[in-house]
Symmetry: C2
Subunit: 281 residues, 2 copies
């Protein structure tokens, strides 16, 4: 694991690392925020929030734009931001569109050629990256997960598929029912093939009925989000939750859009939600 840069922020450290990922079979970069507690008390391990970003993003969007580090410092919460896809793997068409290939890994495990060799972001964010950071950095196995848009979808499926693995989950404007929207159907056909039964295992709305753990879903959504009706569809997820009494807190925010101006408005609520579940509040 190679340290690329360090920036002190709010008394803690924002760091970027590069490492070779076995799951993705390529080199990856990620960012981590280590709160002041980890620097003051060497040997301390703190709980960690995994943040999964949306289409076209890298490990840096959240770190630079969410305004989250101040509250994370206060809570004593680490934040880890992976990239949004494998990088530099030279697959044909990989860089041709913003919603498939590079920057659009969708946090699933591809089964179709040529994608299946590298496009395994689910394995990376659920298993490989946590194992790495828990071994190499002062973060513990007490984990929560959150994300935005494609990354909100990622956070939801990671939690729904892995009972006990995360203390809490939340999302901003998630792609809540990817099997039924243009972004999701494009990605799922490409990475998983045309058998829609395979898709159900990667769609929060379809996972809820059989979820082995009823972890509350905290979801914030802006009403002025340009993608709300065509791509995101939080009502489908809320309907699925209602049928099986899966706890969901869907907060619709009048006038807010899909940008980080929206995320920064409510990120402290999410950090506190995770902080409480992780025993920090």
């Amino acid at each position: 694991m190679e340290l690329l840069s360090t920036n002190v922020s709010h008394g803690g450290e924002h760091r970027r690392y590069r490492h070779h990922s076995e799951a993705l079979d390529c080199d990856m970069e990620f960012a981590v925020y280590l709160p002041p507690a980890t620097l003051r008390n060497p040997g301390t391990s703190v709980p960690v929030l995994y943040w999964l970003s949306g289409l076209t993003c890298t490990d840096q969007n959240f770190m630079q734009k969410a305004g989250a580090l101040g509250r994370a410092a206060e809570l004593g919460l680490a934040i880890v931001c992976p990239d949004t896809s494998p990088r530099g793997v030279n697959l044909p068409g990989e860089d041709d569109s913003y919603d498939f290939g590079s920057g659009a890994g969708f946090y699933i495990t591809a089964t179709q050629d040529p994608w299946r060799r590298h496009y395994r972001m689910y394995d990376y964010v659920v298993d490989e990256l946590p194992a790495l950071v828990e071994a190499e950095l002062p973060v513990s196995g007490r984990r929560s997960v959150s994300g935005h848009s494609m990354g909100g979808h990622g956070a939801l499926i990671c939690a729904l598929k892995n009972p006990g693995r995360y203390a809490s989950v939340s999302a901003f404007a998630p792609i809540a029912n990817p099997s039924s929207c243009p972004w999701g159907t494009r990605a799922f056909s490409g990475y998983l093939g045309d058998d829609r039964e395979e898709w159900a295992d990667w769609d929060a709305t379809l996972l809820v009925p059989g979820a082995p753990e009823r972890l509350e879903l905290l979801i914030d959504q802006g009403t002025a989000d340009d993608f709300l009706d065509e791509q995101l569809n939080p009502d489908a997820l809320a309907d699925a939750c209602e049928k099986v009494h899966h706890p969901i807190r869907l907060r619709m925010h009048r006038g807010y859009d899909h940008s980080y101006f929206f995320i920064e408005s409510f990120i402290n609520d999410h950090l506190d939600h995770h902080g409480r579940a992780l025993g920090l509040l």
Copy 2:
């Protein structure tokens, strides 16, 4: 004034506008944050902080990265971010380097050809832009000014040269003595010519002795800032202040660098400093 975009944030609105600047003889874009108070109470005018950004920046760096909007919303403080130079004026060499020409207006009034027709950022940020936003937006003539690096220099000279115009001033890692550093000497020779006597009117350290108003200078500076010794030199400014008893609060922050990770760590202190001076706290 053409509205380019609006994002709701922390209950207020971040907006971008385009307008024709007479001072700069070109079209300019700027950003404004209007706190919730202005939306809830039409007809209200709120105090405003002018933020001047550093080399290579636009109106967006501060708005997207500083994490300042939450506190501004609480205080009821508007924030206006101009761009950092004239744009698209097609002067030879304008885009050749990061520290002169585009993105590097230095908040001065150029006297040398070919720059003097357009490179008049001082006139723009001190007079034209405030007159425009005070006429067109719900912001009042109660003003404060702050900035980063080149923009920290800008904030300091705007305040020092205009007694009574700003209720308060602050800066992050300002170019505190531009006449004596590579960035400043390059810019001043190009925009102002080689007569160093002309430069003194645009250099905070040289303005302090004769400043007609002893407004406190709040300055935050990281000790791990790569530009500290060669370009920024806050000690020269502090020495000048000490000689004439000009109040300065220079806070050196161990380990912090020149990035927005530094700014976001202390921006709330600056917003509170301005909020107090503007009667909001």
